[in-house]
């Protein structure tokens, strides 16, 4: 049987093995529920918490007017302490030194910052009154200079969402794929299926088919995940007959989509091949110290999120966008930010693709030898020796 027919058979088997319609439907429903009503409920609770009134005892004659959610009750110190004990007030505000008020509360208050802001605003207004400046005059003085930004490069979006989507997509793809591969390979080793398969096809055909089949099933799983999120975003406005949310700028730019998918495919192939080879060296997944190494792909993909907190044009980030292990998530972010041109993108894509192709043989060699080892794990030195022979 030809190599590629064997790859196709293994890929189809692995795809069906991990694709279960009932579980897919469950994923869609669970994600839709988690991504829609749950955040809304959390938001509702947070808003309700932010809007609830806070009553504070202040010394008689303090003369504090109600400010935002805070109400002030003037009570002598003894009565204030009793009221706090009975829960009639949320705290006692000591204004002995107006410049440095102190607060006595039974537990750490979430509203302390809001109170400090309200007191600061009140103090500011008092000082403005002393110098004869009205609040409107102050606002006019502190107003920012309007700045018009004209980007001459090819920036596609300045929003955060497209970056989150790209990095999140890669992270989901890689973490789900590596989890499936780990389960598949260590399971086959412990269940002693390996000899049965390897007597029929070459180890290279097996690992190629595994990576392909697992990759396809992961794509379907990620699509199901995306469908769940889509339902969460679209169903509530449809039910309420409200306008549908606008898609992130990313979705409307074919260039970003193509670049992201190309890097996702090359990156997933590279990660999955390396991961499959390392997973094959694990003898007992319950006790192996090597399992920790298998989190590395997700760590490299996570570097893409750096683009959310640092400038994608930063020198380190530029380097990461060429390094084959991190470029699948970093380069699309740079492209999205308009920091990388077509030539840079192609060069980086060529690098990661070439690395994936070169890794295929090496991973196949390690896989072939490691998958048949039982009772012990090869040392890293042995693995290195196999790689050199490959």
């Amino acid at each position: 049987m030809s190599h590629w027919r064997a790859v196709r058979e293994v890929a189809a088997w692995e795809f069906r093995r991990f694709l279960r319609v009932r579980e897919l439907l469950t994923t869609i429903v669970v994600v839709a529920v988690m991504a829609g009503p749950l955040p809304a409920a959390i938001g509702y609770m947070a808003r309700r918490d932010a809007e609830s009134a806070v009553t504070l005892a202040v010394p008689p004659g303090a003369g504090l007017a109600e400010a935002s959610r805070f109400r002030f009750v003037e009570l002598p110190p003894d009565e204030a302490a009793s009221a706090l004990e009975r829960g009639e007030v949320d705290g006692i505000l000591d204004l002995t030194d107006p410049a440095a008020p102190s607060l006595v509360v039974p537990r750490d208050p979430r509203w302390a910052d809001a109170l400090a802001a309200a007191l600061g605003q009140r103090a500011l207004q008092a000082r403005l009154a002393e110098v004869g400046v009205t609040p409107d005059e102050l606002s006019a003085l502190g107003a920012p200079v309007p700045l018009e930004v004209n980007v001459t490069g090819s920036s596609r979006s300045s929003g955060v969402w497209p970056l989150v989507v790209i990095s999140g997509f890669m992270l989901t793809l890689v973490s789900t794929g590596t989890a499936l591969l780990f389960t598949a390979i260590t399971g086959e080793k412990t269940q002693r299926v390996t000899e049965l398969v390897l007597s029929a096809i070459s180890p290279q055909a097996w690992i190629d088919g595994k990576v392909l089949g697992t990759g396809l099933s992961v794509v379907v799983n990620v699509l199901a995940f995306g469908l769940g999120i889509g339902l969460a975003l679209l169903v509530p406005p449809l039910v309420r007959r409200e306008p549908l949310p606008t898609l992130p700028a990313l979705a409307g730019d074919p260039g970003v989509v193509v670049v992201s998918l190309a890097f996702a495919a090359a990156g997933a192939a590279l990660y999955f091949l390396l991961f499959a080879a390392v997973a094959a060296t694990i003898d007992d997944p319950a006790t192996s110290q090597r399992s920790g190494v298998l989190t590395l792909p997700a760590l490299f993909v996570g570097l893409g999120f750096l683009g959310l907190v640092i400038d994608p044009g930063n020198g380190v980030y530029r380097f990461l966008s060429y390094l084959p292990l991190s470029s699948p998530s970093a380069m699309p972010v740079r492209y999205l930010a308009g920091d990388a041109g077509a030539l840079e993108v192609l060069l980086s894509l060529a690098l990661v693709t070439a690395t994936a192709v070169a890794s295929r043989r090496a991973a196949g060699r390690v896989f072939a030898l490691a998958i048949l080892m039982t009772g012990k794990e090869p040392t890293w030195r042995e693995v290195w020796r196999w790689l050199r022979r490959a």
């Binding site: 058979e9 049965l196 096809i201």
Partner: protein, 328 residues
């Protein structure tokens, strides 16, 4: 059976760390025969079988396949080999029929043909009703049947079966023996390893007895018996004890295979006459009962490797051995 060798193993050796598992082993398996590798645990059978199946490679020596219609090759078309590994496992979460179809598809069968054949084999092994059950729900014996089916479903020219009887009850051991005979009749060459010598004795055309990685005896059963230096076997029940020296001095006796207080199993030299030995024995003790037969493969093997034997007429598990004849 054709005399043409389908498989030639020439001075093959395999070492694992400090253990020489197979040492300069040579043999041939002919087209359409059942060839058995026999020996105890650690004899090197499974290592040999794994090299035949292409799972591991010899350190030295060559293995040549001469499959019908193909040029002699060191690495044959895998779709023409079948393999039942000693370390067996299947996908417990997968269903029986799709698993068989997958494994046959890896051997080159179309899925439709694989499905048709798998259904027929499942019927043959009494598993038709379990085709859509998950493998993990099957008993160990039934899983063994599925694994056996996977090894021969694609009708290979050469089936390499490592311990095909292990895990089966006597009824299913007989079923597997019958199926192997049928496969041989259909022209398939079967190389199997086993330590159930009594089963193999009734099945194999030729055998290779292995000990510590080397061939001890090799050939048809009669050739092996002849080359062991053992002729007829006598099981004698006596009224009293007789010392070993007296037994060994009996005419035509090659060796004392086993004895208890009142029974003794003797191996005669080839061509030695039973009557001569019995007459001499009657001079030293009262003979209560006598049985004669040919030495079992087990006795031949144990004699060849110089180890002890079991009670007359019974193997280690207390079963009556092949080659027994009714009392004289």
């Amino acid at each position: 059976m054709s005399a043409t060798p389908l498989l030639s193993v020439d001075r093959v050796s395999k070492r694992f760390a400090t253990v020489l598992a197979v040492d300069e082993l040579s043999f041939e398996a002919r087209r359409g025969e059942v060839f058995a590798l026999l020996g105890p645990n650690g004899a090197g059978k499974s290592t040999t079988v794994r090299m035949l199946a292409g799972i591991t490679q010899p350190d030295s020596g060559t293995i040549t396949f001469r499959l019908p219609g193909a040029e002699p090759a060191r690495s044959p078309d895998r779709s023409r080999l079948g393999y039942l590994p000693e370390e067996r496992g299947l996908y417990p979460e997968q269903k029986v029929l799709p698993t068989l179809v997958y494994l046959a598809a890896l051997r080159g069968l179309s899925r439709a043909e694989a499905r048709r054949r798998a259904e027929a084999w499942l019927e043959r092994f009494g598993l038709a009703g379990r085709a859509n059950d998950r493998l993990g729900t099957l008993s160990k014996g039934n899983q063994q049947k599925v694994q056996f089916i996977a090894a021969v479903l694609h009708e290979p020219a050469l089936a390499v079966l490592d311990e095909p009887f292990s895990g089966f009850d006597p009824v299913n051991q007989d079923l597997v023996s019958t199926v192997i005979r049928e496969l041989r009749s259909a022209g398939m060459t079967v190389v199997l390893s086993a330590h159930h010598m009594d089963l193999v004795e009734t099945l194999a055309d030729r055998v290779l007895l292995m000990h510590r990685g080397r061939a001890v005896l090799h050939g048809t059963l009669s050739e092996v018996r002849a080359s062991s230096g053992m002729g007829k076997r006598l099981d004698v029940t006596l009224s009293g004890a007789v010392d070993d020296a007296a037994l060994a001095a009996l005419p035509g006796v090659e060796r004392v295979l086993a004895r208890t207080a009142t029974t003794v199993r003797l191996a005669l030299r080839p061509g030695a006459r039973v009557g001569d030995a019995l007459r001499a024995l009657a001079d030293v003790a009262e003979v209560v009962d006598v049985r004669s037969g040919t030495p079992t493969l087990r006795e031949v093997y144990l004699a060849a490797v110089g180890e002890g034997a079991f009670a007359p007429g019974l193997d280690a598990a207390g079963r009556r051995e092949e080659g027994e004849e009714e009392p004289a």
